[in-house]
Structures are given as C-alpha cells and as structure tokens.
C-alpha cells in the first residue's frame, strides 16, 4: 500500500514559487499532542525540531547537550526521541523516531530525516507533479 501527499507551494516576495514536500503528522508528548506539517528532509541524517516545539509537547530534554552540524553551521542540540503518527485513509503508522532538538532561538518546520523514517518507507519525490509518495517497507508491521 502507498499513501501520497501534495507538495506545499509558497510564493516568495520575489515572485518565485517554492514547492516543499511535507506530510501531516501528529506529534505526541507528555504535555500535549498536535498535528503539524513535517518537511521530508532526505539530506538530514536525523530528524530535527526547534526547542520550543519540544518543550510544548513535553519531550524529555534532560540529556546532555551535544552538537548538530548542517549547512547552517554548528548548533547546540539534544538528542532524544519523539512519537509521531502518520496516517491517511486506512493506513496509520505509529513511529518513535530519534530527533535532534535544536537549542537556541531557531525556528523551522519539523524536519523528518532519514534515520528511523526512510527505512520504514520507500519514498518517491515527484517534483514535477508536486507529489510525495510513501510506500510501506516490507518489514513494517
């Protein structure tokens, strides 16, 4: 079985149109749960979320601060896990993913990186049609 989602298009002030592959997920923590649109980031080793989001849902941040590296440089981060639900129609996936919580005042959408997510699905980015298709990997229950 496969589920598909449309890209989100946003027109920039300079008139350019940016299309991004996002999927609807429910984030679940000790304090609260809410839905969000998570950006699928094939270039990221691991998922990442801003500190404010981690604090809102009540993730366990009582862990050592380490460093995360990316195109934006080196930033302080805490590695923990987050529980997400991805569903559409009759398909529902309850996943626990490792995540880097980016400390400091950085604002960005929830990023779903490869570890723990890309091994659960075969993912097709159809840029031309503006669609992302996720097909369940054989071993995922």
């Amino acid at each position: 079985m496969a589920i598909s989602f449309r890209y989100k298009s946003v027109k920039r002030p300079d008139g350019s149109l940016v299309k991004s592959p996002s999927v609807p997920i429910t984030m679940i923590g000790k304090s609260m749960r809410f839905d969000t649109a998570a950006l699928i980031d094939s270039g990221a080793d691991i998922s990442a979320i801003p500190k404010d989001i981690a604090e809102l849902i009540g993730l366990n941040l009582d862990k050592p601060v380490t460093s995360a590296y990316g195109i934006g440089g080196k930033v302080d981060s805490i590695q923990t896990t987050m529980n997400i639900i991805l569903e559409k129609g009759h398909e529902k996936y309850d996943l626990i993913l490792p995540v880097n919580v980016i400390m400091g005042k950085y604002d960005f959408p929830v990023l779903l990186g490869r570890t723990g997510f890309f091994d659960k699905f075969t993912i097709l980015f159809d840029q031309k049609s503006g669609k992302i298709v996720l097909k369940r990997a054989q071993d995922l229950k």
Partner: protein, 67 residues
C-alpha cells in the same frame, strides 16, 4: 474526511504568503492564530478553540536552516 486531515488540506490549498516566517494554527478549516512565537500562538489557539484538534504549521522563510 477526517477533521485533522481537513486542516492539512486547508494548509496545502491556502496561500500562505502573508505568513512567511510565522507559525500558523489551523482549526476546523480556518486560521485561528499566527505569529512568530510558537508557544504564544498555540496558547492563543487553545484559548480561542479549547479542546479542539488543531494543526500547527510553520511557513518557511527564505533563510531556513537545513540541519
């Protein structure tokens, strides 16, 4: 259609240019709060729409960091 998926459809369908760089809360197919501080935006949405299921999205700005 599931209520939560309706919020996502609204996000996909609706132009968000005026909210670039902001967090937006969508509840029952409409925007109920927006701003740059996600904690404040969620708090406002909870006050306006208590006990309702909502979707929190960030409209990426041009300088979004990639980790």
């Amino acid at each position: 259609m599931q209520k939560s998926y309706a919020n996502y459809e609204y996000f996909i369908e609706t132009p968000m240019e005026e909210f670039i760089g902001e967090w937006v809360v969508i509840c029952e197919g409409k925007i109920v709060a927006h701003g740059r501080d996600v904690k404040e935006v969620v708090k406002k949405a909870q006050e306006l729409q208590p006990n309702k299921k909502f979707m929190v999205v960030r409209v990426p700005d041009k300088e979004m960091m990639i980790f």
